[in-house]
Subunit: 420 residues, 2 copies
Amino acid sequence: MAKKLSRGVAVVGVGMSKFGAFPGKSSRDLFVEAYQELRQSVQKGFNPQEIEAFYMGNFSSDQFENQAHLAPIVASWVGLSPVASMRIEDACASGGVALRQAVLAVASGQCDVVLAGGLEKMTDLPAARVTDTLALAADTMFEVPAGFTFPGFYASMASAYLDEYGADGEALLRVAIKNHENGALNEKAQFGQRISDVMASKKAKAAQKGQPVPEWADEIAFLKDGKANPMIAWPLRLFDCSPVSDGAAAVLLVSADLAERYSDHPIFIIGSGQASDGALAERESLTSVPSAARAAAQAYEMAGVTAQDIDFAEVHDCFTIAEIMAVEDLGFFPRGEGWKAELEGKTARNGEKPVNTSGGLKSKGHPVGASGIAQVVEMWKQLNGLAGARQLQPQPKLGLTHNVGGTGQTCVVHIFERRS
Amino acid sequence: MAKKLSRGVAVVGVGMSKFGAFPGKSSRDLFVEAYQELRQSVQKGFNPQEIEAFYMGNFSSDQFENQAHLAPIVASWVGLSPVASMRIEDACASGGVALRQAVLAVASGQCDVVLAGGLEKMTDLPAARVTDTLALAADTMFEVPAGFTFPGFYASMASAYLDEYGADGEALLRVAIKNHENGALNEKAQFGQRISDVMASKKAKAAQKGQPVPEWADEIAFLKDGKANPMIAWPLRLFDCSPVSDGAAAVLLVSADLAERYSDHPIFIIGSGQASDGALAERESLTSVPSAARAAAQAYEMAGVTAQDIDFAEVHDCFTIAEIMAVEDLGFFPRGEGWKAELEGKTARNGEKPVNTSGGLKSKGHPVGASGIAQVVEMWKQLNGLAGARQLQPQPKLGLTHNVGGTGQTCVVHIFERRS
């Protein structure tokens, strides 16, 4: 099933908008920001007319912006008509699946130069409608009428995980602390604050108002304070959840043999995998995501590498528990030991397997259709030594992205390599 | 831009649900009907586990059925998990673009066996909301606030066309008459009636009620009667418009070298083209669809054939004017002469270039995400001599499909060949 690509595929440029809440900006405006940055990132430049196809990940512009058929509209907006343009939708994996289709288009020889993008404009809707719209990614015939929205799904997985492995719930909080730590070093992140910054700011505010200043021994104590970090769906609290975000991202792919025409420091996509699954209730276990393990197995086989070879990864931490399950599904840590790895700092920037150096969905933000493409932006930066204060040392050679739709009805995994 | 496919692609099976209004059936139920028929159509059978990817065209299940992330859900529903599954959205061209991605997946060598499907369940919404939902396929930032919905867009194109070429409006009615004539011979069509059947039924009803029986000299007189065929947006009347429909369709693609393992009568996809465009108001002319001409040029070049070589075509007649523009954009008739060809019967089953032998969107129905895939079903039937009472004689060798999104922000064209 996981076959070799017919020819190699290189990334020669990337760009993303800032992630956050941007009233007054539409998704096409945000895409312009991403695309402009991409254009500047292509070292030797390129002519936009060289682009032969545009694959655009988007979850539900229909609901969020009252606009469907968004791919040709966005293409026209940035001056790319008449390029073949299409929207790919697989819920929160839309960006990653769009990337995969772009990879296939180049690998097939059908196109030499392809643009993959992702975008979502979520903050125009009231919060309750955003939750309901996201719930459309679950099975609305069975799962949603039973009362589930996404915090509930992931809370079910988290409580099952804690129970099955006797895990310490503090591991969840450690994921949040680490990803905020990383995101604070990413100027594009929605949250530029460490958890300790949030604590300090709350203290300062209380003092300013003449209220009693809260005493938190450390970040963990802060995150366990039900007032500072309210419960959303047990055991998940506010800081376990990724935010509602606006944002866009874009990457330019070319066939490997043409890469040096565009850049002296391309990165190469050497593995790609994708798998689907049914509703959460149909699975044998709640504590892993089978589509993730399958997609990863395909990508590893295609790339001819193993989990041990991967230097760092961007994984789909829509909730903190999702990162813990991901590092197991991807084979980074044994089944049932992901929580320990998080507690022990193994996924920190200076750990043995850095995860979500960008801040992840948790801190960078999660404009759902853009997330799978924004992960590639971090691949580009880390592999090329361009990640600034959050740069991994030594400069990594192999990175992996993991993008999940729904509770794992879709998962897509890609592997990236630096050769220079 | 239009490159050769890396390896050949064959269709070895097709299926579709009946098109129509089916209260109580969801899109996944309709897809089951299409998929079951497909399974039976594969002459030598196949194991569903051979399917390596599922490309699903769907316009807006988000709005129509309150369900996004539909591809893995449908895959699970028919027992195909964990197959890589994705929804492709390009408005009413979603099905055709899904087909194109499936073609690429096989041509690239990434997959040997791929399922392409399309589905839409439109009739659960009140009619006014259906019109508003379809309008999301236009630019809702500029076009829709100006008062346009799709009948208005195509009415603008029709009035510009009639004016620019001094065309006889009767040509529009002739498209409707022909396509209803064809659809009456298609058991899957939403409308199984010729226009003359509709006339006769109206007369019978009047007589039954003791009302004066209308006297119409012929079908044209009937269609010009403002009471029998009310004006929707001048010059388009009710019978110029395709209906609101529910339906699903599916096709199984394999690499050409594996085709005989599945069937002794595969058909081959030898050309594929796709192009995009901006909003209607940005175009130089309202009387042609540039994306259609571009997509066709790509497909002809890839296939190494010309418009003259094509024996028959299924074109996107969402409105009667759309078929007239299509037969020009595709090069079947010179610019400005499509209306004459329709008047003169050149697109009839016994004409020089039969168009929409299935009944087209006009009579067969237009469940928007399914239409581009259902066109392939007609290719299969006509090329294999399986089209029953509407079978073309002599049995054709080369067919073409033309699937449009919006007013032509997307167009996708494929060319099919019988070799046996």
